[in-house]
Protein backbone atom coordinates (compact mmCIF):
# COMPACT_ATOMS: atom_id res chain seq x y z
CA UNK A 1 0.00 0.00 0.00
CA UNK A 2 1.37 3.40 -0.91
CA UNK A 3 1.97 5.76 2.01
CA UNK A 4 -0.49 8.31 0.62
CA UNK A 5 -3.32 5.84 1.08
CA UNK A 6 -2.34 4.95 4.64
CA UNK A 7 -2.13 8.58 5.60
CA UNK A 8 -5.47 9.34 3.95
CA UNK A 9 -7.05 6.55 6.00
CA UNK A 10 -5.54 7.87 9.23
CA UNK A 11 -6.80 11.34 8.37
CA UNK A 12 -10.32 9.99 7.86
CA UNK A 13 -10.03 8.35 11.26
CA UNK A 14 -9.01 11.67 12.77
CA UNK A 15 -12.08 13.38 11.35
CA UNK A 16 -14.20 10.67 12.92
CA UNK A 17 -12.47 11.09 16.27
CA UNK A 18 -12.78 14.86 16.17
CA UNK A 19 -16.57 14.47 16.31
CA UNK A 20 -16.42 13.02 19.82
CA UNK A 21 -13.72 15.27 21.32
CA UNK A 22 -16.43 17.59 22.74
CA UNK A 23 -17.47 14.84 25.13
CA UNK A 24 -14.01 14.37 26.64
CA UNK A 25 -13.16 15.81 30.05
CA UNK A 26 -11.37 19.16 29.41
CA UNK A 27 -8.31 18.05 31.37
CA UNK A 28 -7.80 14.93 29.28
CA UNK A 29 -8.58 16.94 26.16
CA UNK A 30 -5.74 19.32 27.02
CA UNK A 31 -3.31 16.44 27.49
CA UNK A 32 -4.37 14.96 24.16
CA UNK A 33 -3.84 18.27 22.37
CA UNK A 34 -0.39 18.65 23.94
CA UNK A 35 0.47 15.16 22.73
CA UNK A 36 -0.40 16.22 19.19
CA UNK A 37 1.64 19.41 19.38
CA UNK A 38 4.60 17.56 20.90
CA UNK A 39 4.46 14.98 18.11
CA UNK A 40 4.83 17.79 15.56
CA UNK A 41 7.64 19.38 17.55
CA UNK A 42 9.55 16.13 18.11
CA UNK A 43 9.11 14.86 14.55
CA UNK A 44 10.44 18.11 13.13
CA UNK A 45 13.37 18.24 15.55
CA UNK A 46 14.12 14.63 14.68
CA UNK A 47 14.80 15.72 11.09
CA UNK A 48 17.52 18.05 12.39
CA UNK A 49 18.94 16.11 15.36
CA UNK A 50 18.12 12.54 14.49
CA UNK A 51 18.38 12.28 10.71
CA UNK A 52 20.86 15.02 9.86
CA UNK A 53 22.86 14.69 13.08
CA UNK A 54 22.99 18.42 13.87
CA UNK A 55 22.48 18.89 17.59
CA UNK A 56 20.09 21.83 17.93
CA UNK A 57 18.99 23.05 21.33
CA UNK A 58 16.91 25.93 20.02
CA UNK A 59 13.72 24.31 18.83
CA UNK A 60 11.56 26.18 21.36
CA UNK A 61 12.93 29.42 19.92
CA UNK A 62 11.45 28.61 16.51
CA UNK A 63 8.28 27.46 18.24
CA UNK A 64 8.15 30.87 19.92
CA UNK A 65 8.64 32.73 16.63
CA UNK A 66 5.84 30.70 15.08
CA UNK A 67 3.57 31.16 18.10
CA UNK A 68 3.94 34.93 18.24
CA UNK A 69 3.89 35.61 14.50
CA UNK A 70 0.83 33.42 13.96
CA UNK A 71 -0.86 35.03 16.96
CA UNK A 72 -0.15 38.49 15.54
CA UNK A 73 -1.59 37.37 12.20
CA UNK A 74 -4.75 35.88 13.68
CA UNK A 75 -5.34 38.80 16.05
CA UNK A 76 -4.95 41.23 13.19
CA UNK A 77 -7.21 39.25 10.87
CA UNK A 78 -9.97 38.65 13.43
CA UNK A 79 -10.11 42.37 14.21
CA UNK A 80 -10.09 43.28 10.52
CA UNK A 81 -13.03 41.41 9.14
CA UNK A 82 -11.79 37.82 8.84
CA UNK A 83 -13.18 36.62 12.15
CA UNK A 84 -13.84 33.19 13.54
CA UNK A 85 -17.36 33.37 12.11
CA UNK A 86 -16.01 33.15 8.54
CA UNK A 87 -16.09 29.44 7.61
CA UNK A 88 -15.61 28.37 11.22
CA UNK A 89 -12.30 30.19 11.50
CA UNK A 90 -10.54 27.83 9.11
CA UNK A 91 -9.12 30.53 6.79
CA UNK A 92 -7.79 32.64 9.70
CA UNK A 93 -6.13 29.66 11.30
CA UNK A 94 -4.68 28.43 8.00
CA UNK A 95 -3.20 31.83 7.20
CA UNK A 96 -1.93 32.32 10.77
CA UNK A 97 -0.21 28.93 10.85
CA UNK A 98 1.32 29.40 7.42
CA UNK A 99 2.65 32.84 8.29
CA UNK A 100 3.96 31.57 11.63
CA UNK A 101 5.64 28.59 9.97
CA UNK A 102 7.22 30.73 7.27
CA UNK A 103 8.50 33.24 9.82
CA UNK A 104 10.07 30.41 11.81
CA UNK A 105 11.56 28.94 8.62
CA UNK A 106 13.09 32.30 7.69
CA UNK A 107 14.51 32.62 11.20
CA UNK A 108 15.85 29.09 10.81
CA UNK A 109 17.56 30.11 7.57
CA UNK A 110 19.09 33.21 9.18
CA UNK A 111 20.34 31.24 12.17
CA UNK A 112 21.29 28.15 10.20
CA UNK A 113 23.55 29.59 7.51
CA UNK A 114 26.20 30.94 9.88
CA UNK A 115 25.86 28.43 12.72
CA UNK A 116 25.65 25.17 10.76
CA UNK A 117 29.33 25.52 9.91
CA UNK A 118 29.90 24.63 13.54
CA UNK A 119 29.85 21.06 14.75
CA UNK A 120 28.49 19.12 17.72
CA UNK A 121 28.75 20.94 21.05
CA UNK A 122 29.40 24.31 19.43
CA UNK A 123 26.23 24.15 17.42
CA UNK A 124 24.29 23.13 20.53
CA UNK A 125 25.59 26.17 22.41
CA UNK A 126 24.89 28.58 19.54
CA UNK A 127 21.32 27.34 19.10
CA UNK A 128 20.78 27.48 22.84
CA UNK A 129 21.98 31.07 22.86
CA UNK A 130 19.75 31.88 19.94
CA UNK A 131 16.77 30.44 21.82
CA UNK A 132 17.42 32.87 24.66
CA UNK A 133 17.87 35.79 22.25
CA UNK A 134 14.44 35.14 20.76
CA UNK A 135 12.91 34.98 24.21
CA UNK A 136 14.52 38.24 25.33
CA UNK A 137 13.47 40.00 22.11
CA UNK A 138 9.86 38.91 22.59
CA UNK A 139 10.02 40.09 26.19
CA UNK A 140 10.82 43.59 25.00
CA UNK A 141 8.37 43.94 22.14
CA UNK A 142 5.02 45.56 22.74
CA UNK A 143 2.96 47.54 20.25
CA UNK A 144 -0.61 48.55 19.54
CA UNK A 145 -2.58 48.59 16.32
CA UNK A 146 -6.01 50.29 16.46
CA UNK A 147 -5.92 50.21 20.23
CA UNK A 148 -5.32 46.47 20.48
CA UNK A 149 -2.18 45.29 22.24
CA UNK A 150 0.12 42.96 20.34
CA UNK A 151 2.88 40.70 21.75
CA UNK A 152 2.72 42.41 25.16
CA UNK A 153 6.31 41.81 26.25
CA UNK A 154 6.68 39.93 29.51
CA UNK A 155 2.99 40.55 30.30
CA UNK A 156 1.85 38.06 27.71
CA UNK A 157 -0.31 38.05 24.61
CA UNK A 158 -3.98 37.05 24.48
CA UNK A 159 -4.67 34.92 21.41
CA UNK A 160 -8.01 33.90 19.88
CA UNK A 161 -8.99 30.26 20.39
CA UNK A 162 -8.69 28.60 16.99
CA UNK A 163 -6.90 25.28 17.58
CA UNK A 164 -8.85 22.08 17.59
CA UNK A 165 -8.23 18.35 17.72
CA UNK A 166 -8.38 18.12 13.95
CA UNK A 167 -5.95 21.00 13.39
CA UNK A 168 -3.43 19.67 15.88
CA UNK A 169 -3.44 16.07 14.74
CA UNK A 170 -3.91 16.95 11.08
CA UNK A 171 -0.71 19.02 11.24
CA UNK A 172 1.10 16.28 13.18
CA UNK A 173 0.12 13.87 10.41
CA UNK A 174 1.40 16.25 7.72
CA UNK A 175 4.69 16.66 9.61
CA UNK A 176 5.15 12.89 9.89
CA UNK A 177 4.20 12.39 6.25
CA UNK A 178 6.63 15.05 5.04
CA UNK A 179 9.58 13.92 7.15
CA UNK A 180 9.07 10.25 6.29
CA UNK A 181 8.68 10.97 2.57
CA UNK A 182 11.72 13.18 2.53
CA UNK A 183 13.95 10.76 4.41
CA UNK A 184 12.84 7.70 2.48
CA UNK A 185 13.75 9.13 -0.90
CA UNK A 186 17.05 9.02 -2.74
CA UNK A 187 17.44 12.75 -2.20
CA UNK A 188 16.71 12.29 1.51
CA UNK A 189 19.56 9.79 1.91
CA UNK A 190 21.79 12.87 1.69
CA UNK A 191 20.62 13.96 5.16
CA UNK A 192 21.56 10.60 6.67
CA UNK A 193 24.89 10.67 4.86
CA UNK A 194 25.69 14.02 6.47
CA UNK A 195 24.95 12.46 9.85
CA UNK A 196 26.97 9.29 9.28
CA UNK A 197 30.11 10.68 7.66
CA UNK A 198 30.45 14.23 6.40
CA UNK A 199 33.78 13.67 4.64
CA UNK A 200 32.50 10.69 2.68
CA UNK A 201 29.23 12.48 1.89
CA UNK A 202 31.14 15.42 0.43
CA UNK A 203 33.37 13.12 -1.58
CA UNK A 204 30.21 11.66 -3.16
CA UNK A 205 29.07 15.14 -4.22
CA UNK A 206 26.68 15.89 -1.36
CA UNK A 207 26.69 19.61 -0.53
CA UNK A 208 26.70 19.06 3.23
CA UNK A 209 26.08 22.65 4.32
CA UNK A 210 23.13 22.93 1.97
CA UNK A 211 21.59 19.71 3.29
CA UNK A 212 22.06 20.86 6.88
CA UNK A 213 20.46 24.24 6.21
CA UNK A 214 17.54 22.59 4.41
CA UNK A 215 16.90 20.21 7.31
CA UNK A 216 17.10 23.17 9.67
CA UNK A 217 14.64 25.26 7.66
CA UNK A 218 12.10 22.47 7.24
CA UNK A 219 12.39 21.55 10.93
CA UNK A 220 11.95 25.19 11.94
CA UNK A 221 8.94 25.54 9.68
CA UNK A 222 7.08 22.77 11.49
CA UNK A 223 8.29 24.05 14.87
CA UNK A 224 6.72 27.40 13.97
CA UNK A 225 3.45 25.74 13.03
CA UNK A 226 3.59 23.75 16.28
CA UNK A 227 4.00 27.06 18.09
CA UNK A 228 0.99 28.45 16.26
CA UNK A 229 -1.15 25.49 17.30
CA UNK A 230 0.04 25.88 20.88
CA UNK A 231 -0.69 29.63 21.02
CA UNK A 232 -4.18 29.24 19.60
CA UNK A 233 -4.98 26.48 22.03
CA UNK A 234 -3.87 27.91 25.38
CA UNK A 235 -4.96 31.42 24.26
CA UNK A 236 -2.41 33.25 26.36
CA UNK A 237 1.29 33.09 25.59
CA UNK A 238 4.24 34.57 27.45
CA UNK A 239 7.94 34.42 26.56
CA UNK A 240 8.37 31.90 29.39
CA UNK A 241 6.54 29.28 27.34
CA UNK A 242 9.55 29.12 25.04
CA UNK A 243 12.62 28.90 27.27
CA UNK A 244 15.42 26.47 26.52
CA UNK A 245 13.80 24.09 29.03
CA UNK A 246 11.10 23.54 26.43
CA UNK A 247 13.84 22.88 23.84
CA UNK A 248 15.42 20.30 26.11
CA UNK A 249 12.05 18.64 26.66
CA UNK A 250 11.76 18.12 22.90
CA UNK A 251 15.38 16.96 22.60
CA UNK A 252 14.69 14.34 25.28
CA UNK A 253 11.76 13.07 23.22
CA UNK A 254 14.02 12.70 20.19
CA UNK A 255 16.77 10.94 22.13
CA UNK A 256 14.42 8.66 24.03
CA UNK A 257 12.56 7.75 20.86
CA UNK A 258 15.80 6.82 19.14
CA UNK A 259 17.59 9.45 17.04
CA UNK A 260 16.33 9.01 13.55
CA UNK A 261 13.28 6.84 14.13
CA UNK A 262 10.09 8.76 13.41
CA UNK A 263 7.83 6.20 15.09
CA UNK A 264 10.04 5.89 18.15
CA UNK A 265 9.97 9.65 18.50
CA UNK A 266 6.19 9.74 18.22
CA UNK A 267 5.93 7.12 20.94
CA UNK A 268 8.35 9.09 23.12
CA UNK A 269 6.37 12.29 22.56
CA UNK A 270 3.21 10.52 23.73
CA UNK A 271 4.95 8.92 26.74
CA UNK A 272 6.73 12.06 27.86
CA UNK A 273 3.56 14.15 27.63
CA UNK A 274 1.51 11.69 29.64
CA UNK A 275 4.14 10.79 32.24
CA UNK A 276 4.36 14.11 34.10
CA UNK A 277 0.56 14.25 34.15
CA UNK A 278 0.11 10.67 35.33
CA UNK A 279 2.59 11.33 38.12
CA UNK A 280 0.65 14.27 39.51
CA UNK A 281 -0.65 12.24 42.45
CA UNK A 282 2.91 12.04 43.77
CA UNK A 283 2.87 15.84 44.00
CA UNK A 284 6.29 17.09 45.13
CA UNK A 285 8.06 13.84 44.15
CA UNK A 286 6.73 14.10 40.61
CA UNK A 287 9.82 15.46 38.90
CA UNK A 288 12.11 13.11 40.84
CA UNK A 289 10.16 10.08 39.67
CA UNK A 290 10.02 11.50 36.15
CA UNK A 291 13.78 11.95 36.06
CA UNK A 292 14.39 8.50 37.51
CA UNK A 293 12.17 6.94 34.86
CA UNK A 294 14.14 8.76 32.16
CA UNK A 295 17.43 7.50 33.60
CA UNK A 296 16.16 3.92 33.78
CA UNK A 297 14.84 4.10 30.23
CA UNK A 298 18.12 5.44 28.91
CA UNK A 299 20.11 2.73 30.69
CA UNK A 300 17.78 0.00 29.50
CA UNK A 301 17.60 1.21 25.92
CA UNK A 302 20.49 3.57 25.16
CA UNK A 303 19.68 3.37 21.46
CA UNK A 304 16.21 4.77 22.16
CA UNK A 305 12.87 3.03 22.22
CA UNK A 306 13.11 1.95 18.62
CA UNK A 307 16.76 2.57 17.87
CA UNK A 308 17.03 3.62 14.26
CA UNK A 309 14.64 0.88 13.21
CA UNK A 310 11.45 1.66 11.41
CA UNK A 311 8.17 0.52 12.90
CA UNK A 312 7.60 -2.40 10.55
CA UNK A 313 11.19 -3.62 10.62
CA UNK A 314 11.19 -3.48 14.42
CA UNK A 315 8.27 -5.89 14.67
CA UNK A 316 9.41 -8.03 11.76
CA UNK A 317 12.68 -8.66 13.61
CA UNK A 318 10.85 -9.49 16.84
CA UNK A 319 8.75 -11.96 14.96
CA UNK A 320 11.73 -13.55 13.23
CA UNK A 321 13.52 -13.88 16.57
CA UNK A 322 10.45 -15.46 18.15
CA UNK A 323 10.12 -17.96 15.30
CA UNK A 324 13.72 -19.04 15.71
CA UNK A 325 13.12 -20.01 19.35
Amino acid sequence: MRPQLIFALIFAGLIGLSLVTGKIDPYYYTVIIFIGINITMATSLNLINGFTGQFSLGHAGFMGVGAYVSAIASTFLTTHGLGTEVMGGVPVMAIALLVGGLAAALTGLAVGIPSLRLKGDYLAIVTLGFNEIIRVIIQNVDFKIDGISYVGGARGFAVPQLSSFLWVFGIALVAIYFVENLINSTYGRGFLAVRDDEVAAEAMGVHTTRFKVRAFVIGSFFAGIGGGLFAHFIQYITPDNFTFLKSIEIVVMVILGGMGSTYGVILAAILLTIMPEALREFSEYRMIIYSLMLIVLMIARPQGLFGSETFTRFFAKRKAAANKV
Binding site: P3, Q4, F178, N181, L182, S185, T186, Y187, G188, R189, G190, L192, A193, R195, D196, D197, V199, A200, A201, E202, A203, M204, G205, V206, H207, T208, R214, I218, G260, S308
Partner: protein
Protein backbone atom coordinates in the same frame (compact mmCIF):
# COMPACT_ATOMS: atom_id res chain seq x y z
CA UNK B 1 42.67 16.43 -24.14
CA UNK B 2 44.44 15.31 -21.00
CA UNK B 3 42.58 13.99 -18.00
CA UNK B 4 44.16 15.08 -14.79
CA UNK B 5 47.10 17.42 -14.66
CA UNK B 6 49.12 18.32 -11.58
CA UNK B 7 51.30 21.37 -12.17
CA UNK B 8 54.01 22.12 -9.62
CA UNK B 9 51.73 21.05 -6.77
CA UNK B 10 53.19 21.78 -3.36
CA UNK B 11 51.44 21.09 -0.09
CA UNK B 12 52.96 22.37 3.14
CA UNK B 13 51.70 21.88 6.67
CA UNK B 14 53.56 24.42 8.77
CA UNK B 15 57.22 23.57 8.25
CA UNK B 16 56.53 20.14 6.80
CA UNK B 17 56.44 19.77 3.05
CA UNK B 18 54.14 16.78 2.46
CA UNK B 19 54.22 17.14 -1.33
CA UNK B 20 56.87 19.13 -3.13
CA UNK B 21 56.63 20.47 -6.69
CA UNK B 22 54.77 17.49 -8.08
CA UNK B 23 54.06 17.34 -11.80
CA UNK B 24 51.95 14.56 -13.23
CA UNK B 25 49.56 13.78 -16.05
CA UNK B 26 46.92 11.08 -16.14
CA UNK B 27 45.38 10.24 -19.50
CA UNK B 28 41.57 9.87 -19.79
CA UNK B 29 41.73 6.07 -19.63
CA UNK B 30 45.03 5.70 -17.85
CA UNK B 31 45.61 3.15 -15.14
CA UNK B 32 48.24 4.63 -12.91
CA UNK B 33 49.75 3.44 -9.66
CA UNK B 34 51.04 5.78 -6.99
CA UNK B 35 53.52 4.11 -4.68
CA UNK B 36 56.00 5.08 -2.03
CA UNK B 37 57.03 4.28 1.52
CA UNK B 38 54.86 5.18 4.50
CA UNK B 39 54.51 8.92 4.93
CA UNK B 40 55.64 9.66 1.37
CA UNK B 41 52.62 11.90 0.79
CA UNK B 42 50.45 9.62 -1.33
CA UNK B 43 47.20 10.20 0.51
CA UNK B 44 47.99 13.92 0.64
CA UNK B 45 48.10 13.90 -3.16
CA UNK B 46 44.60 12.33 -3.15
CA UNK B 47 43.37 14.92 -0.69
CA UNK B 48 44.73 17.73 -2.85
CA UNK B 49 43.09 16.32 -6.00
CA UNK B 50 39.72 15.83 -4.27
CA UNK B 51 39.69 19.25 -2.64
CA UNK B 52 40.10 18.19 0.98
CA UNK B 53 43.21 20.38 0.96
CA UNK B 54 43.90 23.34 -1.26
CA UNK B 55 47.50 23.17 -2.50
CA UNK B 56 49.93 25.72 -1.06
CA UNK B 57 51.38 26.24 -4.54
CA UNK B 58 50.72 24.99 -8.03
CA UNK B 59 47.58 24.06 -9.87
CA UNK B 60 45.35 21.02 -10.37
CA UNK B 61 43.59 20.80 -13.72
CA UNK B 62 40.94 18.34 -14.77
CA UNK B 63 39.78 18.16 -18.39
CA UNK B 64 41.53 21.46 -18.99
CA UNK B 65 39.85 23.34 -16.13
CA UNK B 66 41.47 24.35 -12.86
CA UNK B 67 39.81 22.62 -9.93
CA UNK B 68 42.20 23.60 -7.19
CA UNK B 69 39.92 26.03 -5.36
CA UNK B 70 36.77 23.90 -5.60
CA UNK B 71 35.17 22.12 -2.65
CA UNK B 72 35.17 18.30 -2.45
CA UNK B 73 31.51 18.02 -3.45
CA UNK B 74 32.06 20.29 -6.48
CA UNK B 75 35.10 18.29 -7.56
CA UNK B 76 33.00 15.15 -7.35
CA UNK B 77 30.41 16.82 -9.58
CA UNK B 78 33.22 17.49 -12.07
CA UNK B 79 33.83 13.76 -12.36
CA UNK B 80 36.44 12.77 -9.79
CA UNK B 81 35.46 10.21 -7.20
CA UNK B 82 37.42 8.37 -4.53
CA UNK B 83 37.59 5.69 -1.89
CA UNK B 84 39.25 6.05 1.50
CA UNK B 85 42.21 4.35 3.09
CA UNK B 86 40.35 3.89 6.37
CA UNK B 87 36.98 2.77 5.02
CA UNK B 88 34.34 5.45 5.38
CA UNK B 89 31.03 3.75 4.75
CA UNK B 90 27.85 5.26 6.17
CA UNK B 91 27.42 3.38 9.41
CA UNK B 92 23.67 3.49 9.82
CA UNK B 93 22.84 2.37 6.30
CA UNK B 94 22.47 -0.78 4.26
CA UNK B 95 24.72 -1.52 1.29
CA UNK B 96 21.95 -0.38 -1.03
CA UNK B 97 21.49 2.93 0.80
CA UNK B 98 25.22 3.57 0.97
CA UNK B 99 25.34 3.52 -2.82
CA UNK B 100 22.06 5.43 -3.03
CA UNK B 101 23.72 8.40 -1.33
CA UNK B 102 25.77 8.90 -4.50
CA UNK B 103 22.55 9.62 -6.38
CA UNK B 104 21.21 12.01 -3.70
CA UNK B 105 22.87 15.12 -5.19
CA UNK B 106 21.95 13.98 -8.71
CA UNK B 107 18.20 13.38 -8.56
CA UNK B 108 15.65 15.48 -10.41
CA UNK B 109 13.18 15.04 -7.55
CA UNK B 110 14.60 17.13 -4.78
CA UNK B 111 12.67 18.37 -1.74
CA UNK B 112 9.29 19.11 -3.34
CA UNK B 113 9.34 16.02 -5.54
CA UNK B 114 10.23 13.79 -2.60
CA UNK B 115 7.68 15.37 -0.26
CA UNK B 116 4.75 15.20 -2.64
CA UNK B 117 5.93 12.10 -4.52
CA UNK B 118 4.92 13.62 -7.80
CA UNK B 119 6.67 14.47 -11.06
CA UNK B 120 7.93 11.01 -11.94
CA UNK B 121 9.20 10.38 -8.43
CA UNK B 122 8.52 6.64 -8.43
CA UNK B 123 9.92 6.25 -11.92
CA UNK B 124 13.18 7.91 -10.93
CA UNK B 125 13.46 5.88 -7.72
CA UNK B 126 13.03 2.72 -9.76
CA UNK B 127 15.76 3.81 -12.18
CA UNK B 128 18.15 4.50 -9.31
CA UNK B 129 17.41 1.10 -7.78
CA UNK B 130 18.06 -0.55 -11.13
CA UNK B 131 21.39 1.20 -11.55
CA UNK B 132 22.45 0.17 -8.05
CA UNK B 133 21.40 -3.44 -8.61
CA UNK B 134 23.36 -3.54 -11.86
CA UNK B 135 26.49 -2.27 -10.11
CA UNK B 136 26.04 -4.77 -7.27
CA UNK B 137 25.73 -7.54 -9.81
CA UNK B 138 28.88 -6.44 -11.63
CA UNK B 139 30.75 -6.74 -8.33
CA UNK B 140 29.04 -10.00 -7.32
CA UNK B 141 27.59 -8.35 -4.24
CA UNK B 142 23.87 -8.68 -4.97
CA UNK B 143 23.38 -10.94 -1.96
CA UNK B 144 24.57 -8.20 0.42
CA UNK B 145 22.12 -5.59 -0.89
CA UNK B 146 20.07 -5.18 2.30
CA UNK B 147 22.73 -5.89 4.87
CA UNK B 148 24.29 -3.22 7.06
CA UNK B 149 27.36 -2.13 5.09
CA UNK B 150 29.67 -2.10 8.10
CA UNK B 151 28.76 -5.67 9.04
CA UNK B 152 30.31 -7.03 5.80
CA UNK B 153 33.77 -8.62 5.63
CA UNK B 154 36.57 -6.15 5.13
CA UNK B 155 37.15 -6.95 1.47
CA UNK B 156 33.46 -6.55 0.66
CA UNK B 157 33.36 -3.22 2.47
CA UNK B 158 36.15 -1.98 0.24
CA UNK B 159 34.28 -3.12 -2.82
CA UNK B 160 31.10 -1.38 -1.64
CA UNK B 161 33.17 1.79 -1.32
CA UNK B 162 34.35 1.35 -4.91
CA UNK B 163 30.75 0.90 -6.07
CA UNK B 164 29.67 3.97 -4.14
CA UNK B 165 32.40 5.97 -5.86
CA UNK B 166 31.50 4.54 -9.28
CA UNK B 167 27.84 5.41 -8.76
CA UNK B 168 28.72 9.09 -9.06
CA UNK B 169 29.69 8.31 -12.70
CA UNK B 170 33.25 9.60 -12.42
CA UNK B 171 35.72 10.09 -15.25
CA UNK B 172 38.58 9.60 -12.82
CA UNK B 173 38.51 7.15 -9.95
CA UNK B 174 40.96 7.41 -7.07
CA UNK B 175 41.48 4.22 -5.06
CA UNK B 176 43.31 4.58 -1.77
CA UNK B 177 44.83 1.19 -0.91
CA UNK B 178 41.98 -0.88 -2.31
CA UNK B 179 43.67 -4.18 -1.42
CA UNK B 180 44.50 -3.38 2.20
CA UNK B 181 43.28 -6.12 4.48
CA UNK B 182 42.42 -8.52 1.67
CA UNK B 183 43.66 -12.09 1.45
CA UNK B 184 45.69 -13.27 -1.61
CA UNK B 185 42.66 -14.67 -3.47
CA UNK B 186 40.72 -11.48 -2.94
CA UNK B 187 43.70 -9.50 -4.16
CA UNK B 188 43.94 -11.45 -7.41
CA UNK B 189 40.23 -10.93 -7.99
CA UNK B 190 40.58 -7.23 -7.22
CA UNK B 191 43.34 -6.89 -9.83
CA UNK B 192 41.11 -8.37 -12.50
CA UNK B 193 38.23 -6.21 -11.33
CA UNK B 194 40.21 -2.97 -11.53
CA UNK B 195 41.20 -3.65 -15.14
CA UNK B 196 37.65 -4.63 -15.95
CA UNK B 197 36.37 -1.40 -14.42
CA UNK B 198 38.60 0.68 -16.60
CA UNK B 199 37.61 -1.20 -19.77
CA UNK B 200 33.91 -1.37 -18.96
CA UNK B 201 33.35 2.16 -17.67
CA UNK B 202 36.06 3.85 -19.84
CA UNK B 203 37.49 5.79 -16.92
CA UNK B 204 40.92 6.71 -15.64
CA UNK B 205 42.06 5.09 -12.40
CA UNK B 206 44.74 6.27 -10.03
CA UNK B 207 45.51 3.91 -7.20
CA UNK B 208 47.64 3.96 -4.11
CA UNK B 209 48.89 0.54 -3.13
CA UNK B 210 51.48 -1.08 -0.93
CA UNK B 211 51.20 -4.51 -2.45
CA UNK B 212 53.89 -4.54 -5.14
CA UNK B 213 52.62 -7.55 -7.03
CA UNK B 214 49.25 -5.88 -7.35
CA UNK B 215 50.65 -2.56 -8.57
CA UNK B 216 53.09 -4.19 -10.97
CA UNK B 217 50.44 -6.56 -12.27
CA UNK B 218 47.65 -4.15 -12.92
CA UNK B 219 49.03 -0.66 -13.57
CA UNK B 220 50.26 0.55 -16.93
CA UNK B 221 52.19 3.39 -15.45
CA UNK B 222 53.66 3.95 -12.02
CA UNK B 223 54.70 7.04 -10.09
CA UNK B 224 56.97 6.75 -7.08
CA UNK B 225 56.89 9.29 -4.28
CA UNK B 226 59.44 9.59 -1.52
CA UNK B 227 59.32 12.37 1.06
CA UNK B 228 56.75 14.14 -1.07
CA UNK B 229 58.94 14.24 -4.16
CA UNK B 230 58.44 12.22 -7.31
CA UNK B 231 61.58 10.13 -7.70
CA UNK B 232 60.55 8.01 -10.66
CA UNK B 233 57.85 7.44 -13.25
CA UNK B 234 57.37 4.83 -15.93
CA UNK B 235 56.10 1.41 -16.83
CA UNK B 236 56.20 -1.32 -14.17
CA UNK B 237 59.27 -2.79 -15.85
CA UNK B 238 61.12 0.51 -15.85
CA UNK B 239 60.20 1.13 -12.23
CA UNK B 240 61.36 -2.24 -11.04
CA UNK B 241 64.73 -1.57 -12.65
CA UNK B 242 65.06 2.02 -11.50
CA UNK B 243 68.00 2.54 -9.19
CA UNK B 244 66.40 5.31 -7.08
CA UNK B 245 63.29 3.28 -6.50
CA UNK B 246 65.23 0.24 -5.47
CA UNK B 247 67.12 2.34 -2.99
CA UNK B 248 64.08 4.09 -1.60
CA UNK B 249 61.53 1.41 -1.60
CA UNK B 250 61.90 -1.86 -3.41
CA UNK B 251 65.36 -2.58 -2.03
CA UNK B 252 64.89 -6.17 -1.02
CA UNK B 253 62.03 -7.10 -3.31
CA UNK B 254 64.09 -7.07 -6.50
CA UNK B 255 67.24 -9.06 -6.29
Amino acid sequence: MTGLELQHVTMRFGGLTAVGDLNAVIEPTGLVGLIGPNGAGKTTVFNVITGVYSPTQGDVKFLGKSIKSLKPNEINQHGISRTFQNIRLFRGMSVFDNIRVSYAPRTNNKIIGSLLRMGGFYKEEKEVAMKIDRLLEFFNLSHTRDEQAISLPYGDQRRVEIIRALATSPKLLLLDEPAAGMNPTEKVNLMKLIRQLRDEFKIAILLIEHDMSLVMGVCEQIMVLDYGVKIAEGTPKQISENKHVIEAYLGEVVE
